[in-house]
Symmetry: C2
Subunit: 315 residues, 2 copies
Amino acid sequence: MSETYPPRVTITEVGLRDGLQMESKFLPTEQKLRLLHALIDAGVRRFEATSFVSPRAVPQLADAADLMREVKRRGDVTLAALAPNAKGIERALQANVDEVVVFLSASETHNRTNLNRSRARSLEDMREAAELVRGTSVHLHAAIAVAFGCPFEGEVALEEIERLATAFAEFGFQGITLGDSTGMATPRLVKQRVDMLRHKLPGLPVTLHFHNTRGMGMVNVVQGLASGITSFESSLGGIGGCPFAPGATGNICTEDTVHMLQELGVDTGIDLAALCEVAKEFENLLGHPLPGQVMHAGPRLRRFTVEEALCALGS
Amino acid sequence: MSETYPPRVTITEVGLRDGLQMESKFLPTEQKLRLLHALIDAGVRRFEATSFVSPRAVPQLADAADLMREVKRRGDVTLAALAPNAKGIERALQANVDEVVVFLSASETHNRTNLNRSRARSLEDMREAAELVRGTSVHLHAAIAVAFGCPFEGEVALEEIERLATAFAEFGFQGITLGDSTGMATPRLVKQRVDMLRHKLPGLPVTLHFHNTRGMGMVNVVQGLASGITSFESSLGGIGGCPFAPGATGNICTEDTVHMLQELGVDTGIDLAALCEVAKEFENLLGHPLPGQVMHAGPRLRRFTVEEALCALGS
């Protein structure tokens, strides 16, 4: 905890994809656009903005092409989109995304449950995905789900992460995300995986994607920082949930992460107050309380009057 | 984060005092006793069990003397109680508590708001408290509220913590808790305060009491560990709330803390599965969802069947 941390990190906002996917409500395109533009105004520069997945499978993101058509594009903002297969990649390229994210699971059972095919087959799909994107200016990114443990199989071997990441590098992927899909990451596993990747594949930038399912999301971010990682994914208001654990939260919360990074002296380029305002709007639009803490409590030096305190204590 | 941590730490369960104090419901003594005994069975050995405060001020703890009379006492279990004044201390001593906890606030405004007197007067009260307890076998503990920042005044100077702690040591207090009453602690402040106290008052054991109001509770625990602290306070199910921030959580959660410590290789002597069962009973008794994560999600290696996953994903 007393190490030197990187002076600046990049936050990728995944609330509009990973977050909304868990919501029962369809958020109209216009509202998604308002949130996206407000987040850009607050200083967020990277988004997992949507997913070119079957609208039947994920109706919440059925408007992926509309969203990409109508969003104000900026040279300094990266809009990434998930694509589960060749058809999704073609749609994503047609929609002019800045980055395509293709993924598989580190465990066989999770891959078969989530993608309905073997890991071997998914790896072949990813090689083909890389061929589809090669030659375009679109950034090619790979994500490994359940990279810190699988809810069906338990521990995931470090060797499996090495094998998959090595394949991605060979296929021409330009970056990789280790996803902690069900909140099984621990500081020990974060350090182990990051150290291995930086040693074996020093040219492949690593992004960390944590869930707070068991309350360790922030601790894992700090371990990532201590291990030299400068790219993290998080979700506005902490939306996302965990499909396996009713009552447990999902993605780590963007505002809480930005607030903590500020307090650790790490710059994100994001205006925390503006970010919290967007989170509150998000909460209003979704119509239920979001798990974010700082959006409710305010930053640590927020001042209260004695009257506010007595009123709150009396309530 | 890669430091060596202490092999074993002590958790003080504060849910029955700090937690219940924020609940609107009065939990009958019998239910409190059932929770307390179940927690002891799960391996918890230290409790802030109640408070000898005016029943008018805190009706939830009006049964302090009954609770102490009826609880099964054990030589290896410490039952501490808060006492706000000389009358409270006398009641606590009559009730045969193992430890009396007396407190004040690090900031003048918070002390006046919370205790309705100046810090100078509170310090005088604490000297008298020490005299009342001296000569008995009861352990004498001091707590400093808002030790990492005040919601009214902002930053709290390190020198103020040093001044108060030095006075406590002179008065004969045998331990001190730094309380982060409104979730303003950061790793930098934790390290700074702990390093100072260990240097200036090496004979005075330090306990850390964090709130998760801004999502940094666990990160602060890890910093405490890295700084050599072996005593932490937490609340079953994470109950407690923050009076100033509706929607934000309060005390760090005991199960989540025990789970994280286990994953860091730090022993607490507590059986996590048994602890989570008590947390679920607590949730049932209180009748509303508690913020604890591990009680809902299970420990990280909890296995799910594919059927459970499909069922959850389909809901």
